[in-house]
Amino acid sequence: MRRVLVTHVESPVGRRVVKALFHDPDVALALGLGTEPEPSYLAPYRGKIAYQRIDLAKARHLQSFLHSERFARARPDSVIHLPFAEERARERVPGGVHSLVSETRRLVEECAAKGGIERFVYLSSVFVYEPEPGNGNVVSEGQLLGFDGAGDSLVRAWIDADLVCQGELHGSTLLMTILRSATIVTEGGGFLNSPPLAHAEPAVGYDPMLAVVSERDVARAIVLALHADRPGIYNIAGREVFPRSQLGAGERRVAGFALPAPLGGALGLVEQLLGRGSTQGAAFERYGIVPSSRLAHEALGFEPQYRIEVRGTGAARRIDTVRCR
């Protein structure tokens, strides 16, 4: 019977994870952490789930919590850490996304130092991978990470936090599992973990393929990772892939300006002199990353159970999550 600590339970994925843990007979208790007042959705789950308001980004908050009677009574043996599963992590997190990196580092260090915690499941993103030229590229877990200094701040924070967790992969104290998820589709048809969709202006001439996965499947993968004795890095993706233009609704399609590297480089220099933004944009705006979740299937038994359907275009576009038969 697992006793689980779940961070950021107020996020859409956190909510799904809490519900899945509640219905999981192998989980005795879950203690949810969040920065906001107790979410109302937790009310029906109090039988097994407790909530603690805490700002993990603050060292003294974490220390106080770890030495509290509450933590001692909970005796968690596993941690599920979901720092980036917010819909607008950039704006919503005080101190910006970099505080999520320091929070992750602190939490991992404390869990490794403090006895009792055996497992640590961390939800990362496939956008940590270095995008390679091409509209749709399948990437496995062995793909290099994209250490692009000029890249998106959220992606850089993802990479940093991912590396922090990777540091514990071969340690002896924690069984670390890193799940790198594709673009998460929420129940309401929103998207999480997708920097290409966060940019309003797509690059002309590029329409990268985006792999999607239902938030329910992500929660399921997290619970599978919690119970499996297979630490490591796993990609999580659903069956469907869509071009960016089909997922980004109501956008201006002819905007931005993207060119091949050599021409873009020359034009970029001119634009820099004129004090304008780059013409090329980040690589993930041009090149598709389609994660292969074969390893997660083999090691964790993960199989997507939900299909994502996109109907219509523009403002009339509708995205549904449909259970596979």
Partner: protein, 364 residues
């Protein structure tokens, strides 16, 4: 789970909140809120999900599932003029062959690599015209292509624009028995080109990375590789139909995935746009892999890149099954891999030479 661990009405008994212990500095509103929530919880026992806990379910009910959706092509209600034009150019037999190809997608609108059945159909309608009337392709040896299993097609490369790849793909659809979509592995540079990268992906072509090739072979696809790489395209007219040194990767993947290598000889591509000179300094300046001078390019501008109406001949040879002859450890032996690669290269060279000689004999 013992009942001692389970809380009463107010949740797990985990003690007091360390951040709300009364030090007099915390806002009393928080405590007031907690109390009010307790009162609400106690006053509303009907909200206790005891029954839900006693009868756990994997996921909350979503309501009745919507009916299974039809395949992508049927779902598309707005067939545009290009689709209608494609409908006019393709025969019912062609449509049937396309339908057989689409069956592998399982109703999805796109596959992992960005292939779109709808755009493939449009492209096929156009390239079929080139196949039949511009290049007048003759092909032979389709019997060696597996019906369902994966295989690597290794072909010689030539011509400025990759019409050799296009004609092999069209041949696979129109003349294959059964029709199969050949997935060409294209150079990474093509993946950087705006519009081109999207079009290639939608018609099933894939940028050459190991992960992509491995996934294609895992999915039992026909993978077309030009082991000469760019060297085959930029070779001068004097070297046409002389195969350049091969890269080794395709033999390694064949051994790793235990798939046959089918040698493919293409005659005609090297005549479609003979390269007189490759201006490397200019190519480097423009960030291109090569900058060709042909009898028509750059004299006629972009129009000079169009291929001459040469006859194409495509021949599929007997497959190499090195994995039957060599142990798996051979993969680690670069000499063995090079030896196997050389065998494939020689076979393709022989096939090409034979057909070039036949052509010359016919002309005389």
């Amino acid at each position: 789970m013992s009942h001692d661990e389970l809380p009463g009405a107010l949740g797990p008994s985990l003690g007091t909140d360390p951040f709300t212990q009364g030090d007099g500095t915390l806002p009393y509103l928080i405590r007031l809120r907690e109390r009010s929530l307790r009162i609400v919880a106690e006053a509303a026992p009907a909200h206790e999900p005891k029954s839900a806990h006693e009868a756990p379910q994997e996921v909350p009910d979503l309501g009745p599932p919507i009916p299974e959706l039809p395949s992508f092509d049927d779902r598309d209600e707005s067939a545009g003029p290009l689709d209608r034009l494609a409908g006019m150019l393709l025969t019912p037999g062609d449509e049937e062959r396309l339908a057989q190809l689409n069956a592998g997608l399982g109703g999805r609108a796109y596959d992992e690599f960005g292939l779109s059945p709808r755009i493939t159909r449009r492209a096929l309608a156009f390239f079929k015209l080139l196949y039949k009337y511009w290049f007048r392709v003759e092909s032979s040896g389709h019997a060696v292509i597996p019906e369902k299993e994966g295989a690597i097609l290794a072909a010689n490369h030539g011509g400025l624009l990759p019409f050799d790849a296009t004609m092999i793909v069209v041949d696979g659809v129109l003349a294959g028995r059964p029709p199969r979509l050949v997935r060409t592995v294209v150079d990474r540079w093509a993946g950087t080109l705006p519009f081109v990268n999207v079009f290639y992906a939608r018609v099933g072509q894939v940028v050459g990375s190991r992960d992509n090739v491995r996934e294609l072979l895992r999915l039992k696809q026909l993978v077309l590789i030009f082991p000469e790489g760019m060297a085959g395209v930029r070779k001068r007219a004097a070297d046409r139909y002389v195969l350049q040194p091969f890269h080794l990767g395709f033999v390694e993947e064949s051994l790793r995935h235990r798939v046959p290598i089918i040698p493919v000889a293409v005659v005609g591509a090297d005549d479609q746009a003979p390269v007189l000179w490759d201006v490397q300094p200019l190519a480097k300046l423009l960030g291109l892999p090569f900058f060709p001078i042909t009898p028509t390019f750059p004299l006629l501008g972009p129009l000079g890149l169009l291929p001459y109406p040469v006859r194409y001949e495509i021949a599929y040879g007997e497959p190499f099954r090195f994995y039957d002859e060599y142990p798996p450890e051979a993969l680690e032996d670069p000499h063995a891999v090079r030896y196997m690669t050389e065998q494939v290269r020689r076979r393709i060279q022989e096939m090409v030479d034979q057909r070039v000689l036949d052509r010359r004999a016919k002309r005389r």
